[in-house]
Amino acid sequence: MSAPVTAEVAAIKNLKQIAREEFILPGTAVCGGCGGLEGLRLAAKVLGSKTVYINAAGCFTLLAVYPYSPFKGSWLYTTMGGAAAAAQGVRDALDVLMARGKLPVEDDVQVVVVAGDGSTYDMAMAANSGAIFRGLDFWYFCYDNESYGNTGVQMSSATPYGARTTTTPVGSAARAGTEHGKKDLFEIWRAHQPAYLATVSPRYPVDLTNKFLKAKGLRGPKLFIAHASCPTGWLFEPKRSAEVAKLAVQTGIFALKECVGGAVTHTHIPRRRKPVEEYLRGQGRYAHLFEPTRNDAALRLIQEQVDRYWEAAAKAGAASS
């Protein structure tokens, strides 16, 4: 038994409609310029204080370190693979409390998993699949900084082709650094038919806010993959965090989209896409693609992948309209 589904909230049009109140407070130990924290902070402005955060181990372990917590809301820490299972337990407990009249139904307490890509793309794959399959009423915020950031930037299955990590260094046998392609989590999750699924970027706060507002009206799994620009792991100056996130969208590398009822809609289509190089160049993790000699083959591969993605998206869009 849960609270009644609220009507869909009207979308906002500009920055000044974003809530002024903070629900995740400063003073945490995460890196300065963390794009993941920026995304979560904006999301929390929609989620409010009647929340239970289920925090899988990862960079965001550093958010709530005893005896401190930045959350206006409750918090539970779990293993990297266990957050969705914990979310099921917490959701069930809240429902039982409401059924017994010990928790006001109108409080409408929300359960929010916060997990990094190492957890989400690798270790928690099965637990997440189970929770989404069961139609669990919860939110999932994956801050995707494309590596195991907290332990010193090792490759995860979210690490993109061409990025250097400490476990995929550049060498004569692996000139591109990471030679795997990034796992397409969006499509894996889409196949589960969740209530809501979206990608969000910290540099597109209005788009991000609207997606959380839209999901607020839905019961069931509400899943978010948040691009998390990472100065420490991607090797750029912290002040460029938002700029790097923006370039990912402008070059078409990170697609802003959502999926309701199986249909995918791109919420922002970069009409004149910038060359991928403009995104890659400013990050030390890709420096070996340019210096000491240019790796044209790798750069072409990355560009072609992006071009193919958007061609397919355009075709799918034309077919559905």
């Binding site: 000044k16 974003i18 903070e22 130990a29 890196c31 005896p67 420490t232 792991g233 002040k239």
Partner: protein
């Protein structure tokens, strides 16, 4: 010889410790270097250790009683979570990257040993035009202070920078920087050999943490005794939304300063501040909470009217 490097995440002290280690290795010495393992956080205090000896080094772990301490960031000197001067003796040489002169620091820090200081930040900036390169400058300066030659130092730099995929120009700039830093540090008296130069045995009292070596009353130290309480009583006392008490403002190396006349109250900095360290006043102008602002400078970089100036922090 035991050398301890202190800096903030992103300043390259792990690399500096490796440059020193590689340089000593090229000199035919036995070397050990390691950083403190911890979550990699930009701006947070970090430390790295290099041990150098003529024969096998049996000593392990953190260096609690260093012969040379290198401090990359003067803001760390009074930072309770860093305590770079912990474990100092009168024999310990302390090298500080600062524009303040050594005599003034000597007085302020009440350190009995020798302090050397130079503005390596400006030196690095004048040659590489970014702050990347502090690792080269301080790694080489440490090499000069422990008595390694310029050639050995340059070999250490070459070895470590080979991993960094630099452009030709950037590499040459680092080489030039290394030479200048060496010349600067070579003018200082070398660090005296430790009394137990062999490091063959665990000569140190083997404290498990740097804290243990902190002299009582060292600047910034405050020991808090935590009483044991049964979990049923202790756990529910976790507070909510209390992180602002942690004052991450000490991480800041540059301070964003609003020039009100240039601000058009557009909310961009307030919305994009990853920390949520910016609030809005009654006229919707940003108010930065310097107690917690980490100095990432996203606000400065994103401001559409360029209304922020930056100022180097001096504490």
């Amino acid at each position: 010889m035991r050398v301890r490097f202190h800096g903030r995440g992103g300043q390259g002290m792990k690399t500096a410790s490796r440059i020193l280690g590689s340089a000593a290795f090229h000199a035919g010495l036995v070397v050990q270097d390691s950083p403190v393992y911890g979550a990699e956080r930009r701006g947070a205090p970090v430390a790295a250790f290099t041990r150098i000896a003529k024969a096998a080094i049996r000593e392990r772990g953190l260096i609690a009683a260093p012969d040379l301490i290198v401090v990359a960031d003067e803001t760390l000197l009074f930072e309770p979570t860093a305590m770079p001067l912990a474990g100092c003796s009168a024999r310990t040489v302390v090298l500080i990257n600062t524009a303040t002169d050594a005599a003034a620091l000597q007085e302020r820090l009440a350190h009995l040993g020798r302090i050397e200081s130079a503005d390596f930040t400006s030196l690095v900036f004048s040659i590489t035009h970014t702050l990347v390169g502090l690792s080269t400058a301080l790694g080489v300066a440490a090499a000069a202070l422990v008595g390694l030659s310029l050639e050995e130092s340059l070999a250490g730099v070459a070895e470590e920078l080979a991993h960094a995929t630099l452009s030709r120009a950037a590499y040459e700039a680092n080489e030039r920087l290394a030479q200048e830093a060496y010349a600067l540090a070579d003018a200082w008296r070398a660090v005296p050999e430790p009394l137990d130069a062999s490091l063959a045995l665990a000569a140190e009292a083997a404290p498990t943490a740097l804290l243990a070596a902190a002299p009582a009353g060292a600047p910034g130290t405050q020991l808090v005794e935590l009483r044991f309480e049964p979990p049923a009583r202790a756990t529910p006392t976790i507070c909510v939304a209390n992180t602002p008490e942690r004052s991450t403002g000490s991480w800041r190396q540059f301070r964003p300063l609003l020039q009100r006349d240039l601000c058009n109250a557009c909310w961009t900095c307030f919305v994009l501040c990853p920390e949520g360290a910016i609030a809005l006043d009654e006229h919707e102008f940003p108010l930065i909470d310097y107690e917690v602002c980490k100095g990432c400078l996203v606000c400065v970089h994103e401001c559409p009217t360029h209304a922020f100036a930056t100022e180097k922090e001096v504490r």
